[in-house]
Amino acid sequence: MKSPDIFIVVAAYNEEKRILKAISGLQNFGYRNVIVVNDGSRDRTRELALSSGAVVLSHPVNLGQGAALRTGIHYALKAGADIIVTFDGDGQHQASEISRLVTPIIDRKADAVLGSRFIKKGSAVNIPSSRKFFLKAGVIFTRLVSRIRVTDTHNGFRALSRRAASRIDIKMNDMTHASEILDEIHKKKIKFVEVPVTITYSEESVMKGQKTSNALRIFAKMVNKKIFG
């Protein structure tokens, strides 16, 4: 039986310091189909990603991580991907854990596999306490709004089968897409499982990553989407 074509989609915005390490990490584990979506970076992210051998799709303007993932997923589907893994370009995710994410899809146990840092065997290294508080609050909020029972709502490390990726419609350009994906999974009854993953926070990733103040904006946007569609 032919092994599935796994495509890794990396959304990157001003990641010149971290992108090479992230791509080489993926390549070291044998992942050849690495798609970097350069989301309007003003630094050398595009050049460095190209030099590492990844396919680079460039947004001429910065739209946000949701838009970058949408572009990457649509490209991967066109290129014939069987499984699409979304992976952060800032070194928070471990390439060694991709096999754990794709296994339930290969075994046909699920169409969406969501990484979780909060379930047993998962971990969040150096997570700031304020971030942890808002992530936990996000879990409760998601259970109320999207009515999906997950332990980690804003984890960008996930794997989607071709079927799931074709059905999930990401409309939100910004970080709200993470909640939107869960909403879509629940609404379209896509079979999902959570698997433990390690998320490593560095000083840079905390500085650059999602601001705690964004939590309220995401909350407002999701409520707005629920009410007005």
Partner: protein, 125 residues
């Protein structure tokens, strides 16, 4: 004092009409918006010249003062314009996202193999 307010209202009304007319002729404003802003300017001029009209409108609507009527009316118009603008912005953002996505997908970049890589692949063959 009231007369001064009326003069200011007329001047603002004239300014709105002239400003929107100029922008319309420079193709910076759509015909629809030009008519909308001109109508707003005209209402200002009419109320500035005939302030008793705002008193009449206020008493019909059960509002005590003509100036209060003007204030409420302005807030309602501005709120409507804000909603219209937000919808338009969302539409433009959505179209821009689609355009950017299509542009990115139709121009994938990949490093061209160097001389060494080319010769390696030839040897393999």
């Amino acid at each position: 004092m009231a007369a001064l307010f009326n003069i200011v209202l007329v001047l603002i009304g004239v300014f709105v009409i002239v400003f929107s007319r100029l922008n319309f002729s420079w193709n910076k404003l759509s015909k629809e918006n030009f008519l909308l802003f001109s109508a707003g300017g005209l209402v200002m001029i009419i109320i500035g010249v005939f302030p008793q009209l705002s008193f009449a409108a206020a008493s019909v609507l059960g509002i005590q003062r003509g100036s209060d009527f003007l204030l409420y009316f302005s807030v309602i118009v501005l709120f409507y314009l804000l909603i219209r603008q937000s919808v338009k912005t969302e539409q433009v953002e959505s179209k821009l996202s689609k355009l950017v996505e299509n542009l990115a997908i139709s121009n994938p970049e990949r490093k061209k193999p160097g001389k060494e890589e080319k010769s390696k692949s030839r040897q393999k063959k």
